[in-house]
Every structure is written in C-alpha cells, then in structure tokens.
C-alpha cells in the first residue's frame, strides 16, 4: 500500500519525465503524465508508451499508446539509463549526458539531455536534435533504455560502406565518419582520439592509455 504522501512525492519526481517499464526483456520508455492514488489505494499512472516505428514490442492492446492504469511500482525500472554513447538504430550514435545540477525530476527529462550526432558537429537538446536531424525521437528514447552495441567489425563495415555515419561500440567509444578525415575516426566520449586505417587503429599520442580498454572492443591492431 502506498501512502498519499508517497504518491505525491512520486508525482513530483516523475511526472513530465521518461521512465522505463519492464515488458519482457525490453524496457519500454514511458512518458509519465500523472501519478495519483486510485480509489483502491493503488498507483494510478497515466502517460504514454514510447515505441519507435521500427520496433515491435508486444504489449497488451490496452497498454499501447496512451494509458491510464493501476500499476505496481515494481513494473517500472526507475534507474537512470546509462550515460555516454549509445546507438540510435544502426545508422548513427547519440550521446546521453547528465549534469549534477539540482534536478527536481528524477526521471529522464528531455530538456535536460544532450544528444550528440557524431557524424556532424551537433550538440543539442533531444527535441531540437531530432527535429533538425530528422531522427525519430521515439528511436532515441527507446535506444537510451535499450542500447544494443554492434560488434566493432560490423560497425566498421557499415561505416566504410556508407550505410552508417557513426556507430557506438560501447558507452565510451564511437566509430564515425568525419569530413576532415579520409578514414573512419575513433571517438572517446565526444573527443576524436584516433583514426582507423584498415586493420590498424592509430591513436593520438596523448591517449595511449586507452589502449587497455579499447583492446576489449577493437579487434584490430592499436597503435
């Protein structure tokens, strides 16, 4: 049983933000509009499910799209999604950043987050970036909660064949094309740290310490 005070706190902390709902093995982003106490003393949550067009998530019909429903709090994963680089589909990478300023909201508030498109120089809040880049906002939100990192060699091939502009190989490393470089470049967080030439990755001299971690992800020779 949740007390009215606890429900008030939950509403204050999570309304107007995205949280994740556990549906089988995936986390479905949910935009929370209101959290109230139902007549039966349960949590009455209204909001909408965020499911990208390209994904099929089997939800009971009454839970797709907009909903207003009693929930057990355990249905939701209230953990903040992992910050750092994440793939948006198989085409580009984004970057989720979090600043330790006072946030009255605990869920993921779209206007607090920054998406970074690695293929071009773009640093913007989520909505602005999606509008400008033509990325489906739902895909970004879905990817925040369910990042799937492709194998580095697959990423490399997709980049080289022009099918992708930037791909995250981990939350800290991204392979991307850049106009100034003839070869794909390697990003560490949001910094270019090297170039990939065939089966060799050439790192800048100031970042040789990353070799230890990179060797986990990149099967090529690190120089």
């Amino acid at each position: 049983m949740t007390t009215p005070e606890e429900v008030h706190e939950l509403h204050k902390q999570y309304s107007g933000t995205y949280i994740a709902r556990r549906v089988g093995a995936v986390l479905v982003p949910v935009f929370v509009e209101e959290i109230n106490l139902s007549e039966t003393g349960e949590l009455l949550i209204s909001g909408k499910n965020i499911i990208p067009l390209s994904k099929r998530v089997d939800l009971p019909p009454m839970l797709s799209g907009k909903f207003q429903q009693n929930f057990d709090l355990d249905t939701f994963c209230l953990d903040y999604p992992k910050v750092g680089a994440f793939p948006i589909g198989n085409e580009c990478a984004g970057y989720l950043r979090r600043i330790p300023t006072r946030q009255w909201k605990r869920g993921v508030a779209a206007d607090h987050q920054i998406i970074y498109n690695y293929s071009e120089k773009e640093l913007a809040f989520l909505k602005k970036a999606c509008l400008y880049k033509g990325i489906e906002e739902k895909s970004v939100l879905y990817s925040w909660f369910n990042p799937v990192y492709l194998q580095p060699l697959v990423c490399y091939d997709l980049i080289m064949s022009g099918k992708a502009l930037s791909l995250a190989i981990s939350s800290r490393f991204v392979i991307a094309t850049k106009m100034e470089h003839s070869n794909p470049v390697l990003f560490y967080k949001t910094h270019i740290v090297g170039e990939i030439k065939g089966k060799e990755a050439h790192l800048h001299s100031s970042v040789k310490h990353l070799i230890e971690e990179l060797s986990e992800y990149l099967p090529c020779k690190l120089i």
Partner: protein, 381 residues
C-alpha cells in the same frame, strides 16, 4: 562591582569560546584532520537535546527545507558547531549515539535523509586535492555501495560515473590551476554532485554527500575513516603510476594498502569490475592537464619557425597554454599537418574558421579561439 562569570579570555572579551581540545584520537585514520558532519533527521526529536543542555556544545540544530514533516515531527538537521578532529570528533559522535538510544521515537530514515561529511582540505595543495579526486573516482562505486541502497540514483548525490557533465568533464578537460576554471567547478549550481566541490569555496572542505541516514553509528565512524583514507593516501602517494600499480599488484592488494582493515567493508561480488571501471574513468583525470600542475608561461614556450610564420600569416595572437585533453570536435576544426622537421605547415582543405584546433603530431598542439592561437605543448619542441 560586577564580576565576570568566567575568566576565560573568550568570555572576558565576549568572543565565541573555542570548544576544541585538539587532542588526537588514533581511532581515526587522520587523528588531527578536521571533519564537519551534517545529519538530516525526520520523524523524531533532536537526539542531542535529549541528553540535556550540557551536551549541546559540539552540536547545533538547523532547519532543512529539503526534508518533510513525518509523524507530526518537524524535520531538522544536526551539525557540528565547528569542524572537529581527534577526541572531539569521537566525543561528538558518541553523544549522537547515546542521544539516539534515549529517543522515545526512533528516526525515520527515508530516502530524503542523508549524512554529509565535510573533509577539511585547507592545508592541501591543489595537487593533493586532485589526488583525492583521482582516488575517489577509482573507488566511487564501492563507496556508493557502502553508503546505502538507492544512493547512487539519488538526485542530490550524483556520482561522477553517471553524471559526468560539468564537474567531471571540467576536471578532466580543464586545469585547476586556472582561477576561473576552479571557480566554475566550485559553483553552487553543482553542489548536488555526490562529491561536492562547492564547499571548497564555502568552508575549504570536500563534501561527501553519499551516506544514507542511519542509526548505525559505527557505520558513520567507518565512513569517516574511509574518507580519511582517501586523503591520507593522496597526501603520501604519487598518483602518477596508479593504473600500473593496480595492474602489477592487483586491485585487492592496492585497496588494502589504501583502506587497510576497512577493506572488507567495501567488498562485494562486482568490486573488482567496478574498480577497474573506476581506474579507467580516473585516467581522464590522470592524463589531463591538472597533473602537469601550474601551466608554463608563454615566455617559456619557444615556437618553431614554421609555426611562427603560420601564426603571422593568419594574423593570430599567441596566448598562454590551454587545458587540453584530447582533440576536441569543436566548431570549425582545422587540422594542420606538419612536415618532418617543421619545415612547412600544410592545412587540410576545409580550413577557414576562426576557431579550431591545430594538431602537429607528437610535437605541439594549439587551439585557435577567435583570433588567438593558444599553445599547448605535447612533446619536445
């Protein structure tokens, strides 16, 4: 004739008496280091007041707007009147422990209540402060595990690992030796980082906001000692080779070197993996400009002739060294390639901005901001 109640100088001249004894207590890892303590409480009365008026010398009660009324008890926080060390620190915490036992209604330790420890670093150099931050980064995850469940997701004590923006980025990309940079990192707007630098400006302390509210006083003592261990190792050890030191000796052995008999309190199944992530994270700090200390002045930098000509041709001004970590994808990037021996500088085709970075492999890097070329030495010129 009117007599003074006490002949103590503080009373004679109406000054605030010094309540400290300064007696060391070797229970503490740093017996003379000052500690500040704030304990947020809900659902009960002040445990120190329960002991009687003679016991309110070391503590004081304050209102805290972040807390709520619980069971009709107004919330409050109790804090040390002044930072305490050694026996005084022990005495104050003992009072809290005894006071808790006297309470008829025990405190309600909800997720809003936490315990903040201020570690006095006033005598530390910037380098030593930086060392503490490096060791903290390495052990951040185990510290959160110790602090209590849900603490790492609490919006009032965000970890570096999941909220790198501003503070950690600032530490890894900037240089503490620049006043304006240090001022930004100690801004009040960033006080909700678990390790808050805001109190550096306010009190000369580092504030550890991790610990969840608890009646387990031994846990508070252990937590203070764990924090002291970070300072102790930072004062005595060089951090330069710390990743290598971990590689050569193993994570557990180095942890024992730092935390001694407190180590078991920090262990859990994923400890090694979390510390490995921490070591990787800490490398952003270790390889930043902070480690190089005070930046060289402009006068110490001798420019290669080709570079001088290039700067002249672009009508750029040479300013001082800049904090530099990696090649940043800033707006208007310009990459220059330098021929062996620095005979010539070749610009890549899309040159043309008034902002950017020029990289001369293995020799010298400089960043162009507006009309200033700002130098940063990577290797020998």
């Amino acid at each position: 004739m009117k007599h003074k109640k006490s002949d103590r100088i503080a009373h004679v001249f109406s000054r605030v008496p010094n309540i400290r004894s300064y007696v060391e207590d070797f229970f503490w890892k740093l017996p003379s280091t000052m500690i500040g303590l704030e304990i947020e409480m809900e659902g009960t009365l002040n445990p120190i007041s329960e002991l009687g008026s003679n016991y309110t010398i070391l503590w004081e009660q304050k209102e805290d707007s972040s807390l709520r009324v619980v069971d009709e008890y107004n919330p409050f926080e109790i804090i040390f009147k002044v930072p305490l060390s050694g026996k005084d620190l022990s005495e104050a915490i003992n009072q809290y422990e005894i006071g808790l036992q006297k309470l008829k209604t025990p405190p309600v330790w909800g997720e809003r209540t936490s315990i903040h420890v201020h570690l006095d670093v006033r005598e530390c150099t910037l380098k030593q402060l930086f060392n503490i931050l490096v060791y903290y980064t390495i052990f951040e995850a185990p510290l959160f595990k110790f602090a209590g469940p849900l603490r790492s997701t609490n919006i009032f004590c965000l970890p570096f690992a999941s909220a790198e923006g501003r503070i950690f980025e600032g530490l890894s990309e900037g240089n503490l030796y620049y006043d304006d940079h240090l001022s930004k990192l100690t801004s009040e707007s960033l006080r909700y980082s678990a390790l808050s630098l805001y109190s550096l400006k306010k009190y000369g302390s580092l504030e550890f906001r991790h610990l969840a509210g608890t009646s387990d006083v031994q846990k508070i003592r252990t937590w203070i000692n764990i924090i002291m261990c970070l300072k102790k190792i930072a004062l005595t050890n060089s951090i330069k080779e710390i990743p290598t030191h971990f590689s050569e000796n193993g994570i557990l052995k180095v942890t024992e070197e730092i935390f001694g008999e407190l180590t078991p309190a920090l262990l859990y199944p994923e400890f090694n993996m979390d510390v490995l992530r921490g070591i990787r994270q800490s490398q952003d700090l270790l390889y930043s400009d902070n480690f190089k200390g005070i930046p060289p002045s402009q006068d110490l930098v001798a420019l290669p002739e080709a570079l001088e000509k290039f700067i002249e041709s672009k009508k750029l001004l040479v300013a001082s060294d800049i904090p530099y970590s990696y090649v940043e994808p800033q707006q208007g990037i310009a990459i220059a390639k330098v021929a062996p021996g620095l005979d010539s500088i070749e610009m890549v085709p899309n040159w043309g901005p008034d902002e950017g970075i020029v990289v001369l492999p293995d020799l010298i890097t400089f960043k162009i901001i507006k009309e200033k070329a700002i130098l940063h030495l990577v290797g020998e010129v």
